[in-house]
Symmetry: C2
Subunit: 440 residues, 2 copies
Amino acid sequence: MRLSRYFLPILKETPKEAEIVSHRLMLRAGMMRQQAAGIYAWLPLGFKVLQKVEQIVREEQDRSGAIELLMPTIQAADLWRESGRYDAYGKEMLRITDRHEREMLFGPTNEEMITDIFRTSVRSYRDLPLNLYHIQWKFRDEVRPRFGVMRGREFLMKDAYSFDLDQAGARVAYNKMFVAYLRTFERLGLKAIPMRADTGPIGGDLSHEFIILASTGESAVFCDRALLDTPVPGEDLDFDADLTPIVESFTTKYAATEEMHDEAAFKALPEDRQVSARGIEVGHIFYFGTKYSDAMGAKVAGPDGVERPVHMGSYGVGVSRLLGAIIEASHDDAGIIWPDSVAPFGVGILNLKPGDAAVDAACESAYATLAAAGRDPLYDDTDQRPGAKFATADLIGLPWQIVVGPKGLAEGVVELKRRATGEKQSVSLESALARVTEKS
Amino acid sequence: MRLSRYFLPILKETPKEAEIVSHRLMLRAGMMRQQAAGIYAWLPLGFKVLQKVEQIVREEQDRSGAIELLMPTIQAADLWRESGRYDAYGKEMLRITDRHEREMLFGPTNEEMITDIFRTSVRSYRDLPLNLYHIQWKFRDEVRPRFGVMRGREFLMKDAYSFDLDQAGARVAYNKMFVAYLRTFERLGLKAIPMRADTGPIGGDLSHEFIILASTGESAVFCDRALLDTPVPGEDLDFDADLTPIVESFTTKYAATEEMHDEAAFKALPEDRQVSARGIEVGHIFYFGTKYSDAMGAKVAGPDGVERPVHMGSYGVGVSRLLGAIIEASHDDAGIIWPDSVAPFGVGILNLKPGDAAVDAACESAYATLAAAGRDPLYDDTDQRPGAKFATADLIGLPWQIVVGPKGLAEGVVELKRRATGEKQSVSLESALARVTEKS
């Protein structure tokens, strides 16, 4: 993409309403723009990152055997009356009346609807196990939306729902999601720690939150430092194998949110392993048994022909929130430091003197080479001053930057900068291109 | 994908409420399920096709130079008061009051919001031309939703908005979208005819609808048969070139919807070129000048330093509706005939005797080969009877089907069926695989 043809409305001033760094940086970098309280338009740069995060979440759901579908945003109130949650949900639910005076709502989550889809389609244990997920916009009418995408009202969530004949089957499904989440967050460059959590209003009796440690986190968390080094399985993992040992390599170590904290157990750890920090929740998994299948009549016949309510779990990832979490975990004074896996562009090319024939030619050649190599370059061909170009490239977090100016070029070199480390090298253009197109 | 692990709830009976063939087939094939009047859940098979259609729309928007972003579904009523459309829009707009008694709405379209984004970010003609698009769920509270995705309430639309300094620039933007639409529909296997159209409540003075001829179409249309053979540009087209000759190769031939029909001009055509038919609208493009920029103060400074309201156009494609349109245009008594470009799976493998070691081995080998070749096979490994497997493969429209049974295999052959033509060949498994993995 040539920056002169792109839409990247960088803000020069720091927006006053933004209290935390991810919110500030997302606004300043032209990633998003608030349209109403807690409701954002995703500008091209932000949307590109959102799509990359979404795609990693999708790939790991697919790998684990979950199947994607897409439920609508608007739901009928009647479904929620069946589960008893229509009245219980309170003011966070955005309630809507349509032109025929039917009561509707903007879905804050989808347990009821997926249970409805399941009960009309599945009758036998032979169709189990089943795990259905979607990635869809949700709405929760927060009383005080803030912190940008961290606590918005309209937000993108991946929610999966598992269906099994019994608790043992549901536990297998739970373990698959547990491991899929470990892999997802690792690919996003995040160290997410699964913590035993309170199940809250959603109900059930087995639940973990996946939490990123960050000083701006919303809640206090406690964990064993050994969790930070516990290995996450690679992509050769067989999800049909018994995943219990992997899950237990995490769950046997101490980790808890404030609600579930056991001070005595924590203090029993060696002192240098007691991590007390703040955390950001990026995922939450639940097993809730037959809570919805009982209420809504979702039954399957077992091998014995007897019908029984299906055992369910639900598994959420805050996809839009993850962008904020990644930035909270990875930034510096100059701006965002994207992990390569979700950077909006792979490489920046900074032309320090547009109109200079040699510089233009070198930049065009680099642009063509990087585009052909699938590195999705952003070519700053604008007439901004060099200082502004450096600032923009760092602010939006381009992981590699190739800086091309007339003086260097006369000496046969360009500057290659690695955003994460700040390391700069003067090398030939060919070396720079070879370096950034290497398989990493 | 192994069908035994997939979620494909085929309906045996034809749903009574479905009046047109695309609605019937999408329900029967387990592509979607109605959750409320005009509101559908996209089941895995339907969602896969929806994603493929969306991706083709996206690629052609990108190719034309439009830039993707994503605006939220929920909008503030105040924006629509600025344009004067809040009261004018009527009951089709789903109006919502949030917990703080603020008036909101579920966006039926996005002229106001994109104009708002533009006016806060762009000040100079140097940032033009600009064309911003998104692919987002919209809601129109139709008084009588029907025909499945053809007239739903919650639907997926691609809407692009162009910004130019003057009418001449806007015309260039209009032509780019005109040609991008020709290419989009051609890639979807559709013959879409651009027809001069009434601009309707959206306003403006230049507008074309893109219409598919189909006997179930909602409106009468009239055109010159020569349009059916007018060539659409290939992917080597340079969108920065003057596209006027391409646009005029279509617009100089007679084509009009009922509202714009000129019987005298139509009858002046040679009789064998007078096509009078029914049509389905799949796209609509508008130039509407400064209607929104005047009302909302979206101005840019020209080269002379003088500020003037920006010239705009908007360009819609009904993404979810396209699935219905494709099926209306391409089906037979047995089910859907997907064009290869949007088929949910590339190839079906039908195992006629699961448990037979030779048949299982041949199917597994075919499955591995096709998956590795990126042909996204669906392997019917279920214990259904052969007749049911044939019916399902045809109903859901698998473009190629490899049928593997013990008798054929003993003779060294499988059956290779092409869905579109019904042609069947007995060939070796190797030949079948070679045929379906050929570059087409």
